[in-house]
Structure formats: C-alpha cells, structure tokens
C-alpha cells in the first residue's frame, strides 16, 4: 500500500492539468482507489496499515472533491501556477464591482422580506448566470496564461457562491 503524496491531484488521477478534465476517468480512478485503499478493507490489519489507509483515503477524497467542484478546482489550478488565493489577498479593489455587490446584497435582503417566490427564483437564476460567466472568463484567461486576471474572476465567483448559499439558507 503506497501512494505518492507529493504529486498534485491531476497527477494522482492521471488526468491532464487543465480547466476541462476527463470526468469519466476521474470517477473511475477514484472508485478504483477507494476499492483498494478504503479503511473498510483494513479492518483486520495492523494499526500501521489502518493509519496508512486512513491517510491515503483522506488524501484521495480531498483530491477528488477539489477536482469535482469547479470553484475549488479553479483555486487549485491557480495555486499550482503560483497564484494562491488566501485570507490575506482575497480582496477585490474594483469600485464598480463593490457597488454591484452592494446592490445584489440589497436586492437579496428585500427578497427575503417580501418572500416572493417567483422574484426569488429569477434572482437565483441571475446569480447562477453571473457565476457561469465568471467561470467562462476564468477559463479564457487561464488558457491564455493571464493568471492575474483569472484570479480576479475567481474572487468574484466566490462572491456569487456566497450569495447563492445565502439564498439556499433562506429556504
């Protein structure tokens, strides 16, 4: 039982390091790994093997969840390219976008009060569209190796995701 923890997630699943990935291969590789390394397969093994299986499966799960999620995958791609987004640099200094943020927040607060389902669904759709556009722009920039611009798009995408979660929490 062994696995190289130093390789990146794309190498781990033997897929190309890019925005568009071979989902089918990812899925298949993931399940193969699980069948081989899952702690359930080591219930009657030594403590050392149990620990190793736990570490490996945790790593595989983390890698899989990262590549399955568009936002997390984008962040991870940027990190590989040396453009890590963390708590310190995760700010947007674009005044127009800040204005846009405030407007959307206000709109959401109003919708929460009025509880108009049709309007709320419309709003949700708008947010999902904006998020999609961010991702498309990110892909374009990333392919052109304009990683700085790509980072900006991802920070904006994060804002739309948090709005989306807010809507979900409201029920």
């Amino acid at each position: 039982m062994a696995i190289d923890f130093n390789q990146d997630y794309f190498q781990l699943f033997e897929i190309n390091c890019s925005v568009e990935i071979d989902e089918e291969k990812l899925e298949k590789k993931y399940l193969d790994f699980q069948k081989k390394f899952h702690p359930d397969k080591f219930v009657n093994s030594t403590d050392y093997e149990k620990r190793l299986s736990l570490q490996i499966t945790s790593y595989i799960n983390e890698a899989y969840e990262t590549l399955k999620d568009e936002y997390l995958k984008s962040l991870y791609l940027l990190k590989i390219k040396g453009y890590e987004i963390n708590d310190q640099n995760n700010t947007i200094s674009d005044p127009d976008f800040l204005m846009h943020q405030m407007e959307l927040r206000e709109e959401l607060e109003n919708l929460k009060k009025t509880k108009n389902k049709i309007e709320k669904d419309k709003f949700t759709e708008k947010i999902i569209d904006l998020k999609k556009n961010c991702l498309l722009d990110f892909t374009k920039y990333f392919k052109n190796e304009a990683f700085g611009d790509a980072s900006k798009k991802i920070k904006k995408m994060k804002f739309y995701i948090s709005i989306e979660n807010d809507i979900k929490k409201d029920g």
């Binding site: 399940l31 699980q34 069948k35 899952h38 702690p39 359930d40 397969k41 219930v43 009657n44 736990l54 570490q55 499966t57 945790s58 790593y59 799960n61 983390e62 899989y64 969840e65 979900k168 029920g171």
Partner: protein, 615 residues
C-alpha cells in the same frame, strides 16, 4: 466430541473455533443483534425467542436486568438512555429529560445515583450492549470477534464517541459505526444489486433522517444526508393526546398527561388498521365524555409534520444535485413509517411506491450485519460503502462566528488543515474551539471540544505557522493534530471533549468493570458448559435416532441413555465442574458408538458408486 458429529467437508467442525462478526442496532426503544450466516442476514433471538429487545435497563440493589421493565419500588429503570448518550448535564436540563433517580453532576457530566453508585449514560448503555453480546454468544455458541453498531446519521462527534466508549466498556470490538439510514439502504441494496439511486426515509420515534445513496458498480456511495433530530412519531402521540385533551376539555395533572400520552400511542397503533377508534379514558382513570377519533382526524393532525419531512427530503435531494425523477427507489425505515398515511404522503409526493418489504424494525440491524460481514473479510460480496459526514465541522473565529473547515456531505474519511499564527511575541500556547453544525453563530452549534496547543516555539508575533489538521475518520469521529511548520515541531494538544468523559474516565470505568469481571468469567464458563452440554445431548439424541437401533445392542443403548440423562440432570445443578464431568462421561460411553457410525457412514457413502469414481 468432534468425531460424533460427522460433518461434511468444508463445514466447520467445532463451533467454539468460530469467530462471529455481528451487527447491532442500538435503538432508543428497542435493540437488535444480527449476523450474516451462509450469505443471508438473520436477527438473533434471546432466550425468550424475542428479536426486539427493549432498550430498558433495570437496576435493583443486587442485580442488573435488561429488556422487560421491572415495576417495583425496589428497581430503578432506565428507558431511552440513547437520548442521553454523549450529552452533558446542561443538555439534560435544557431538554427536560426524565430521570428515574437522583442526578449528581458537579462537572456537567450526567451521573445517576443508582444505589449509591454513580453511573453515566455510557455505562448504562454498555449494559444493553453486554446483554446483546451475551444473546449472540449463547445463540451462536461462539466468540464475538467484532461488531458494527448503527447510530443515527445526525449523531454528532460526542454521541458517536460515547457510543464507542459504551461498546468498549461492554467488551465489544467495534469495527465500524454505521449511519442508520445507510444501513437500511445496504439491506435493500444487497437485494437489488443493479445500479440505482436510493432515497432512505427514516422516521423513528424521536428523529427524522433522509439519505440519498448511489449504488454503482459495487460501490455504495452516500450522496447527501439531512434530517431533524427532534421530529418523530412521538410528536404524533403528543398531537393526538393534545387533541383528545382539547376535545374533551380535560383538566388533568402532569402524571395523567403522561398516561394520556401513552394511551394516545396505543390509539395511533390501532389506527394503522382501523378507520376509527373509540376513546375510553376510564382505562387510565380519567372520567370524560365519549369520543370517536377517525383515521382522517389523525391524518389531519400529523399532516403538517409530514409536510416538514418532505421539505427536508427535497433539500437533501437538492444537496445531491438530483430531482425527484432521478430517484429509483424509496426505502422506509423506522416504526413511524408503519402509519399508512405516512406511506401515502410519500407515495403522492415522490410519485413512487416506497419499499417496505423488509420489516422496518429489522432493516437497520440487517444492514449492520451486512456491513459487519463485509468488514470481516469473509464475505462473498464485493461491495464497498462510502459514507459522508452529516454535519459541518467548524472552528470559532472572531466575534463568535463559525468558520466551516469540513462541509457536511464530505465523503469520509476526510482531512482539512488550517494554519494559525501567534499574535503576541513569545506566545507559546493558543486555544481552538471546534464546533459541529450548520449555523453561523458558535452558540447555535454543538460544541465538540476545546483544544489547547501547547509548546509553541517562542517567536515574534505572526512568525509561527501552526498547521492544525482536522481529520474525520470512517466512523465519523474527529482527530486533531498540530505542527509548527517553520520548525517542524509537533505541538502537543490537550483535548477536552465537551461531553465531559475523558479517556481516563473510560479507563476507570473499565477497571471497575474488571473488578466485577471475575464474577462474570465464572458465569460465562458456566454458560459455556451448559451450551456445550446441550449441544452434546442434541448430537447424541439425533445419532441414536438415526443409527442407535442398527449399531448398538440393548445394553449399549441403555448405557448411553443413562449417561445422557445424567448429564441432563447435572445441567440443573448450575455447577460448571459437575457438568463438564458429566459431558466427559457421556463422551466416553459413546466412543464405540461414534467409531461404528464413522465406519458405517463411510460404507454408505461408497455404496452405490462405481469404483472408477474413486480412482
């Protein structure tokens, strides 16, 4: 004695050599123990032939008994102790739980004063597990090598840890804690085997759980799970009791209210098969006018609660990016799904007839047995279960807000790390508060533990980089480790679980139970001797039946019978040595018979076969 039972090749010879892997459904109301034998799951029965063993623990001054409640002033009886496992005294007070005796709690740990012995809910639960273990050992006449115990999906870390602690105290080796809805799906999944998406709707007495599972190519993956830990069939009973109280304008005290509630429970059960019931409160000593309750009255009462379960189910669907039409099967679990209206509401909403061909009382235990079998390594099935963590794990940040570090519905085991730094020069310790739940504010979530990181190397403020790793293992239990990344020095962690029982407490409890163990060992040896004696008698009787007349003369036959009857008599003596002696004597008397049977059985096998078949 091995020779007497002429076993077919491939079958085990001596049951004492066998180690069993069992599944345990440790329920709030009832508990079950089960295992997979020859590929099919079975629920084991206690000596009174019961599968469902009430989760009731009675303490008298001398004895502990499980199952049937003792109605006597000399007994302290605990019911539904599962509701208290992993909870602290504050939870107890907040939830207005009932205690059959005095509680002493100076450290926020629930300790019942049971005849001057202080017992925690963990110790009381362990008595149920000990009993189940004994049921299995007696019925299998073998050793329990490991078990899978089911827990509600919504159990948080402390409840899971406490369940494991109870198992440790009872001498059980826990292979895995398994979420109840997942267990139910496993019970049905094994039946189907085709690729499908399954929704499990689990409405018990006090909790509601929904899980969506995807069965694909031998992997059973939980996609999402959700629920409400304070919604269940008991609420139906409360509504029905309140309805009666209201309709009849009753003015009754707390005790009578409780009796009315128990009465309502019975009415509910009657209404599953009847269209109306007559309320007769004279039975519980309340004078009132008469009242007839129809099925429709009852359905209207519970409709709101059921709508709530549908909303939750729908959210869980959304969590796994599925819609109603994607679901291939709906599985019903929990006693409350026996209510016909529950089935109807589900069927109407999902436009699909839910599966309930496995008894909802047994289905979780059956799933646990299947998982135990899979984990034992002896299973014929190639199936792997991937479960998720049902609750988000977070840490407290500034302003008492929660920062999620492992979101719910993450496949387990899972790891997440978080980097911290110091904010003072030379700071050598810091504390981290870990919580579980979906709310933004710390006080709305369940506090799991407060960790203190010690031995941080002294550095200027902001220079230390402490990487804290949070790991949820396959049982859903949290482990934490920390390392200072600049110096690669491990910082030590002091853990204080919020439910209050530390490893040392568990150690002490174990020691206590060892002090009683000597008594237990004697009892166990006696039980083993009795089981062995019964096995021998059974074997002799069947051998005599088959071959006694052919292979023995009258005197020989009689001699064996005398030895057998002697053994039967000795069983009643409850003396282990006398029983063992009588077994030996019977074995000796039947040696010749055994060897004659061996010879004759070889002859009969060869008879009628051509020589060439042996060459």
């Amino acid at each position: 004695m091995a020779l007497l039972q002429i076993s077919e090749p491939g079958k085990t010879k001596d049951p004492h050599d066998k180690k069993y892997f069992v599944g345990i459904d440790l329920g709030t109301t009832n508990s079950l123990i089960s295992l997979v034998q020859n590929g099919s799951p079975t629920i084991l029965k206690d000596q009174n032939d019961n599968e469902l063993i009430p989760s009731v623990v009675n303490y008298t001054k001398e004895n502990i008994s499980i199952g049937v409640p003792i109605k006597s002033d000399d007994a302290i009886t605990f019911r539904s102790v599962k509701r208290l496992i992993g909870k602290n005294y504050k939870d107890f007070v907040d939830n207005k739980f009932f205690s059959p005796c005095e509680i002493i709690s100076d450290d926020n740990i629930i300790r019942f004063n049971v005849y001057n012995k202080l017992l925690t809910p963990i110790e009381i639960s362990s008595e149920i597990l000990k009993f189940l273990k004994k049921v299995a050992e007696l019925s299998l006449a073998g050793e329990i090598a490991g078990c899978v115990i089911t827990v509600p999906a919504y159990f948080d870390d402390s409840q899971r840890q406490a369940t494991k602690d109870a198992a440790t105290l009872s001498g059980l080796n826990v292979l895995r804690l398994l979420n109840e809805p997942t267990a139910a799906a496993l019970a049905y999944g094994l039946e189907r085997k085709t690729n499908s998406k399954i929704m499990v709707y689990d409405l018990g007495g006090g909790t509601f759980d929904v899980s969506i599972l995807d069965l694909k190519d031998g992997i059973f993956k939980v996609l999402s799970t959700g629920g409400d830990s304070s919604l269940g069939g008991d609420d139906f009973d409360h509504l029905l009791a309140a309805f009666i109280e209201n309709k009849l304008n009753l003015n009754i005290d707390k005790n009578k209210k409780h009796e009315l509630y128990l009465y309502a429970k019975k009415l509910k059960a009657l209404l599953t098969s009847r269209d109306s019931v007559k309320v007769n409160l004279i039975d519980i000593g309340i004078k009132s006018e008469s009242l007839v309750i129809t099925k429709n009255d009852f359905n209207l009462l519970i409709n709101n609660l059921l709508q709530k379960t549908l909303i939750i189910s729908n959210n869980v669907l959304v969590d796994s990016n599925l819609s109603i039409k994607d679901i291939d099967e709906i599985v019903l679990v929990g006693g409350s799904t026996k209510t016909p209206y529950v089935k109807k509401v589900i069927e109407d909403y999902f436009n699909k007839k839910p599966l309930s061909n496995i008894n909802p009382d047994n289905v979780v235990a059956i799933g646990a047995a299947i998982q135990a079998d899979l984990l034992s390594g002896n299973s014929q099935e190639e199936l792997l279960l991937l479960d998720v963590t049902p609750l988000s794990l977070g840490i407290e940040t500034m302003g008492e807000l929660v920062e999620v570090i492992i979101p719910r519905n993450s496949t387990i085991p899972v790891t997440s790390s978080k980097e911290y730094t110091t904010f003072k020069d030379g700071q050598n310790a810091m504390s981290i508060h870990v919580v579980q739940g979906e709310r933004d504010v710390v006080s709305d979530c369940r506090s799991l533990a407060k960790f203190t990181l010690n031995d941080i190397p002294p550095m200027v403020a902001g220079a230390a980089r402490i990487k804290v790793e949070f790991q949820i293992d396959a049982d859903g239990i949290l482990n934490v480790s920390a390392i200072e990344t600049m110096t690669s020095k491990f910082t030590s962690i002091e853990v204080k679980p919020s439910y209050g029982i530390s490893d040392r407490d568990i150690e002490n409890m174990l020691k206590d139970s060892f002090d009683n163990a000597e008594k237990d060992i004697e009892k166990r040896h006696l039980n083993e001797a009795i089981v062995e004696a019964e096995r021998v008698i059974l074997a002799i009787d069947s051998a005599l039946d088959l071959d006694g007349d052919n292979l023995l003369n009258k005197n020989e036959y009689k001699e064996i019978c005398v030895a057998r009857d002697n053994l039967k008599e000795k069983i009643h003596s409850k003396n282990k040595d006398m029983i063992t002696e009588a077994i030996k004597n019977l074995e000796k008397r039947s040696e010749e018979f055994v060897s004659r049977r061996m010879n004759s059985s070889i002859k009969s096998i060869m008879k009628g076969k051509e020589i060439k078949e042996y060459s």
